[in-house]
Amino acid sequence: MLRATALALVLSVCGLAQMPRGIYAWWSRPELAKNLNLSPAQRQQIRATVQQYRPHLLNVRSEVNRAEQELAVQFDRNPVDPAKANEAIARLVDARSDLTRTLSELSLKLRLVLTDQQWQELQRRRPASAAEPPGEPPDQK
């Protein structure tokens, strides 16, 4: 119980510390790419970087899902096996850590492709939620 609570607290702190928070596929949104004035070379570089990370991201996604399911299975067991549950917690922490690391590295590589002006513009046009389509910047509404 104590471990589960500690895990929740650690993950919450990690979640708040993420920068940038909630990556979304802005490069595949034509309107946004146009507004950023990306050059053909930049577009090519962005596409190549995303393609490079794609296979590992797919693996990480599967691994996090698998670890989540395994943890749920351990919590549902009767009686709960603390050793196995702790193993499942450790696996989930590792998978989520890998996810955060990979997304952050990808974000950094993409940031390095952008000029400072493009980066500022991208942040201004950031949707409130990653699932939402990007709207006009808040100051233009």
Binding site: M1, A4, T5, L7, A8, L11, S12, G15, Q18, R21, G22, I23, Y24, A25, W27, S28, V50, R54, L57, L58, V60, R61, V64, E68, L71, A72, Q74, F75, L92, R96, L99, T100, L103, A130, A131
Partner: protein, 109 residues
């Protein structure tokens, strides 16, 4: 019939070479060499059979490889960047595992 042809050929060759001097290689050796050649001419062409089997096996391997490749690509459905990064973002922003969400009730007032 074939045996008859070979005997005729041997007789004819002996007549033709009678006047010639003794070759450096003995007649016995040459005769044995020819017998060996005749024997091999009469043998079924094993190498061709082996080649046919090898070709069939290679074709089967190519077909099996093709099926395996197709299956592999079918089992990994394509996912758009939008969907993939939406999933990843949800995962990353989820503060805690689904399994421990029911525990929230313990801390709510």
């Amino acid at each position: 019939m074939k045996h008859r042809d070979e005997t005729d050929f041997e007789n004819w060759l002996r007549e033709q070479t009678r006047s010639l001097g003794e070759p450096e290689v003995s007649q016995d050796f040459l005769a044995a060499q020819r017998r060996n050649i005749y024997r091999r001419i009469g043998e079924p062409r094993r190498q061709l059979w082996a080649l046919r089997w090898a070709l069939s096996a290679a074709m089967l391997l190519v077909l099996a490889g093709g099926f395996a490749f197709e299956r592999l690509h079918k089992t990994a459905p394509a996912i758009s960047d939008e969907q993939l990064f939406s999933d990843l973002s949800d995962m990353e922003q989820r503060a805690e595992p689904k399994a421990i969400q029911p525990m929230h009730g313990l801390f709510e007032e």
